[in-house]
């Protein structure tokens, strides 16, 4: 059998295989006396400049996308997501009560913090660990990040309106009536008065 034919066989075997193949396994499919190492060396060279390369991994051989083209196989997708109500509330509590421990957030909210909420807030780079409380167990305290201030257009965390200001701005009333309306089984108020500078990321 000609060398070129033997190379074709090695090529096809490596292509179709579901796992890397050893030179011994490949030699089993070739006529006796074939120089498998030479064949593999030739094949590697033939593919050297191509979009796929023949590589040796842990003593076995496989085809692989050329490293400089690996970017083709990676796609980054930006997804806009909405925070859950629980996450928004947690973020609000952390921003108003910081530094605050996880247990304290749970106490304030009256429910245990479901897994992933803190992760989400930290992934969004709004919340960061701040230190440890000097109490038994030395729990981690959380607070908001600079990114949080930038995102919400605040100069400092003190710029967050207090309860009285929230009430004056109609937030609490709004919440109240919407709740009462819900209880009365009426249309809940969905209006979202736009605050200056609150729109846009």
């Amino acid at each position: 059998m000609e060398i070129i034919e033997q190379i074709r066989i090695v090529e096809a075997l490596l292509f179709a295989s579901e796992k890397p193949l050893s030179s011994i396994a490949l030699a089993d499919c070739l006529p006796e006396g074939s120089n498998i190492d030479q064949l593999l060396a030739d094949l590697r060279q033939q593919y050297e400049m191509r979009g796929i390369n023949l590589v040796e991994v842990a003593g076995k051989w496989m085809f692989q996308t050329a490293p400089d083209l690996a970017f083709l196989l990676r796609k980054e997708v930006e997804q806009e997501r909405r925070l859950s109500r629980a996450a928004v509330e947690t973020l609000a509590i952390i921003s108003y009560h910081q530094p605050v421990t996880r247990a304290e957030v749970e106490e304030v909210r009256g429910v245990s913090l479901s897994k992933g909420i803190l992760d989400t807030l930290m992934a969004a780079e709004w919340v960061r660990p701040m230190g440890r409380r000097r109490t038994p167990g030395r729990p981690v305290t959380y607070g908001t990040s600079d990114h949080f201030l930038v995102h919400f257009g605040l100069n400092s965390i003190k710029d967050l309106p207090g309860i009285a200001e929230l009430k004056a701005a109609g937030f609490l009333e709004n919440a109240d009536t919407s709740r009462l309306n819900l209880l009365d089984n009426q249309k809940p108020t969905e209006e979202q008065p736009e605050l200056p500078g609150s729109t846009g990321g």
Binding site: P20, R81, L83, V108, A175
Partner: protein, 268 residues
Amino acid sequence: MINNETEQQSEFEDLPSVIDSPDEEENLILDIDGFEGPLDVLLTLARSQKVDLKQISILELVEQFLKFVDEAKVQKLEKAADYLVMAAWLAYLKSRLLLPEEDSEEEFSAEEMAARLTYQLQRLSAFREAAATLMSRNQLKRDVFARGMPEPVIVTRNARYELSLYELLKGYADHKTRKSIADIRIHKRDVYTLDQALERLRGLIGIAIDWTDLFQFLPDLIEGDEMLRSVKASIFTASLEMAREGKAEIIQKQTFGPLFIRKTDRDD
């Protein structure tokens, strides 16, 4: 095509077979189960004529088929029905072919019927050849193979969270509101309803001849201060209601002094 093999019949390997009877070697026992219907039998028989399908002798074919059905050991009637219908049709065709053709506008001529049968046999034969050609093609995962170790495209989803300051503040306010609502515990209380009070007052006011202290009309047995307050409130409201209706008059001589009530005369 007709052979003596007694193949194990399975759902996936059914070959037409004609089984030799050990007792009567001269009589072939034909196995209908091995065929894919009467057309399959006809095609097999036609092929046994060893001529081009276009030149088969329909008369001979009819004879062959009738003989086949006659000899076949038919056990399942529902399976045999197809064969019997075909046999009847072929017998009819045979008679038409043998008798001189009559002019008939409604029916097809015997030649047309025979041509139709030939067409059907040719068509079935052609599709069988096509099937064989199709199956002999290189099939994926049998003869040719795709990449054994495909490299999947890894999609990284970067979550970008959108939240406005308004939503943040609203979240906090909602939390505060819910919290304050949650702290108020309103227990269900026993109350003396306005209706009860009205009923009592309307019933009793007739007895009162002159100005009477409103609280004279309170029910006798009242348990607890809360109930007393409820009763007083309801009786008072009931008195106002009756005054509004023009059925009673109320007078109070001094601030925080007792309330006096009497029936109006106009009613009488």
